[in-house]
């Protein structure tokens, strides 16, 4: 037994390191899960007179997708979101984060918009209130305005099927 001990210790360490190696360091646990989504009110892209506030969505399960025209992986995600917007009923709100060169309106006009509303967070402060570290990030917010899940990174068909859709079903969407 005794002579196997170093090997056992070694294997346990390897186990820990292997687990650590395959963790995604971007997947920082969000402190908002189970808490109320921070309130805000922002003008809409394309219609600065209208505004969006999470209050508007009370009673609905919805997705808050933080994106930006300058963000490459958001382009990847855009196609998936376009399809989702047509095939499923949960509204997607696209927070346009730190769009300093004002490209969102044109981009959405050219490539289509999967969003029910596009609040314009030019300074990025609303994103910071939600703990956004980089685009794209997506929050699932329930009928009572509670954040239920945060996904960091683009939504791929797999992410939708394995992670987001089950959560939406669980919430009763």
């Amino acid at each position: 037994m005794k002579r196997w001990l170093p090997l056992v210790v070694f294997l346990v360490l390897v186990g820990f390191f292997a687990k650590g190696l395959f963790l995604n360091p971007r997947e920082v646990p969000s402190p908002f899960i189970g808490k109320a989504a921070p309130a805000f009110s922002l003008p809409l892209v394309g219609d600065a007179n209208a505004s969006f506030s999470p209050e508007n969505m009370k009673g609905k399960i919805w997705l808050l997708n933080v994106w930006a025209p300058w963000c490459v992986s958001c382009r990847q995600e855009h196609g998936v979101l376009m399809e989702l917007a047509q095939t499923q009923t949960v509204p997607i709100v696209g927070l346009n984060w730190k769009d300093k060169s004002r490209e969102a309106e044109q981009l959405l006009r050219e490539q289509g918009s999967p969003y029910a509303a596009v609040p314009d967070d030019q300074t990025g402060m609303v994103g910071i209130d939600y703990g956004v570290t980089g685009t794209p990030e997506t929050y699932i917010i329930d009928q009572a305005g509670i954040v239920r899940m945060k996904h960091v990174g683009p939504i791929s068909p797999d992410v939708w099927k394995d992670k987001i859709e089950p959560k939406l079903k669980e919430l009763g969407a």
Binding site: P25, V28, P29, S30, P31, K98, G124, M125, I128, D129, Y130, G131, T133, G134
Partner: protein
């Protein structure tokens, strides 16, 4: 000795680089407080850099926000609460001492205790070994073995 001294000096110089990225604000007192605080905070974009040393845009925004809050009279603790409610304890390089982090903080003491235990047991076992008298015959056998090896 000289190289040791050199590497020590090198180690001391690291915090000095970290400040380089922070732009100089108008108020040197607030600036110094902001830098001191943000050295303890993690940049969320480049996670191994401090908020003080990072060039990431988000880090700049957060430094600006810290500065603004300090100017508004918030103390360091309130600023840290502002950040942890948004980004969680992950933003702190020194995680707080609470049930989830007990193992993290106490782990080294635990391992030290374990090491001390093993050390003590080994010494005890060794002390228990008594000098046993060796007779002539055994000595001769040993000498013979050594001789055979030659």
């Amino acid at each position: 000795m000289k190289s040791l001294l050199f590497s020590l000096l090198l180690a001391l110089s690291i915090p000095a680089w970290a400040e380089e990225a922070a732009p100089i604000g108008e108020d040197p007192v607030i600036e110094q407080r902001m830098i001191k605080l943000s050295e303890e905070l993690r940049c969320l974009v480049c996670q191994n850099e401090s908020l003080a040393g990072s060039h990431a845009e988000l880090a700049e925004d957060l430094r600006r926000e810290i500065r603004t809050q300090m100017k508004a009279g918030k103390n360091d603790k309130e600023v840290i609460t502002y950040l942890t409610t948004r980004y969680g304890d992950f933003v702190l390089y020194r995680p707080p001492f609470k049930p989830v982090t007990f193992l993290l903080w106490l782990g080294p003491v635990l391992f030290l205790g374990l090491g001390a235990g093993i050390w003590y047991m080994t010494l005890k076992k060794r002390r228990a070994l008594k000098d046993e008298p060796v007779d002539e015959q055994q000595l001769a056998a040993a000498a013979q073995l050594l001789e055979d090896k030659k």
